[in-house]
Chain length 338, copies 2
Amino acid sequence: MTDNRRFILVHRPHGTPVSDDFSLVTEPIPMPAAGSFVVRNHYASLDPAQRGWMDDVPSYMPPIPLGDPVRATTVGRVHTSANPDFKIGDWVLGLNAIEEYSLVAPGGFTQKIDVSLVPSPTNFLSGMGAVGLTGYFGLLDAGQPMEGDTVLVSGAAGAVGSVVGQIAKIKGCRVIGIAGGEEKCRRLIADYGFDAAIDYKGKSVDALAREIHRAAPEGVNVIFENVGGDVFDAELLNLAMHARIVLCGLIAEYNSPEKHGARNIWNILVKRATLRGFLIADYVDRFAEGGVQMAQWFGTGKLRIDEHIEPGIENAYDAFMMLFSGKNEGKLILQIAE
Amino acid sequence: MTDNRRFILVHRPHGTPVSDDFSLVTEPIPMPAAGSFVVRNHYASLDPAQRGWMDDVPSYMPPIPLGDPVRATTVGRVHTSANPDFKIGDWVLGLNAIEEYSLVAPGGFTQKIDVSLVPSPTNFLSGMGAVGLTGYFGLLDAGQPMEGDTVLVSGAAGAVGSVVGQIAKIKGCRVIGIAGGEEKCRRLIADYGFDAAIDYKGKSVDALAREIHRAAPEGVNVIFENVGGDVFDAELLNLAMHARIVLCGLIAEYNSPEKHGARNIWNILVKRATLRGFLIADYVDRFAEGGVQMAQWFGTGKLRIDEHIEPGIENAYDAFMMLFSGKNEGKLILQIAE
């Protein structure tokens, strides 16, 4: 193995990404200079946030430069090293890219991980990683749920949403999930213990709002928002007084050049609600605290984390697009090496 | 004087209210039963919130019943009384209606006021009333401005906006106001001490966003929102990290059946901002605290409060509509009696 296949961004997508926006190229495996090392990526996390990084707009991270591989959190093993802290064979988690080998320069965000703690190294991309901690800090810190509250989660069958719902249940809340399709709604209740599930597909804002009202006649105290668009508009019609809304994602509009936004913010005023933008990057100094709690729940079976692993870097485009069609069941991960 | 002219809501407005939605009727002056009293209203407050009460939608107050006079905060004097706590001639402030005489039943929100404290009884409808306290608690409590912050106020030449800007200056912030027209922008700087003023009229969202960016190249730390619509969309493109947004009003959409909402909430996520719906009704138990501070600033000339008094209950419709054309300069008040 001397070749490094890389999944390159060649055009900035207009709306929904097409396969021609990317190119799989083969280059030599990089050589580490002093202080650097090379990671053989085994798994790459596929996340809605990557769609944002493909646009040339200001964000919490710089856009992915055209000609660079698509930025991704990966789990892999040190392949060659010129850094005494990282030895060949060490398992690491880092912000790298969808490519077989990543060169990690000094100061890059890559840390060693103890894969013996968890059933699979992929767990560091799901429950033990940013996804699990997004659910943990997003719900508990930004959402401030209280025992007995009604918590509404959109994108509830997704990687973050399913964690949020389960933590809300652990905290004594009543939990309603919104997801796309009967099968996902079935899983919300059967697999994740939600109290109620609502299928948003084919429903108008008014119809969806009425359905939320039936499930939460007194209104919802906490909304954990992953979706946006019409779903969010319907939710905003069902706020309880002083509701807290955690704005974690807006996947419904990531591929749209027109921003839908939130039409019903008037009800945030009427109900004196609070909407907070949430990004896990603000909680880096509390990762250890959250990781310990997540590992305990995960290890004692209180928390179920599903992973959907698609094999092959050559399938990177098709796998990424599953995020938008909703075809994945659980945290979407691309397997790059065995 | 035995007649009571009343400004009655006869139809719920579709969009912008028309004069036929209202009717000025003459009825006998009511007689107070035991515990009640009748107020001769001298002044009625005209506020954007009244437009919301005319719709048949859930809100923080019940809709104004058709056939009832338009609900309003008024200042007046006790005319007849069957309540020993309210004597004929006492000045009172209460939630009554646009009518010459209001019957106040036991338990209604009406309190005696000491008009010797202020230059004019109308001040209890502006700086010393809900308007001034909305600026005070909305900015300081919901907006949490820190010395050196950049504060952006929309509807800045309005009753609430001009108070917010002046309090932000007292607290050591840099203050930018958005208003409609050159004359209002001139007053922001000359009369209220704003650091910069931006005229939104005739500008696209992008053009307005660029102008805000020029005035606040590092972004704004606090937004005090009275307007909504395109103005709010442009503001949301200029958030500093962890910005606080006080959602106090959305006058741009009160007359629109289609809700515009906020198109650029994606930037609330990117900048991890917080948006809070604010209503002064939540602060009733702190009115005394706010009133003392406002009276001190007002009395020592640190705070300028402008009032725009339109005379005559027969002009109630035309006066109310000034709120939406932006023709008033200062807190809009209808004078009902000399």
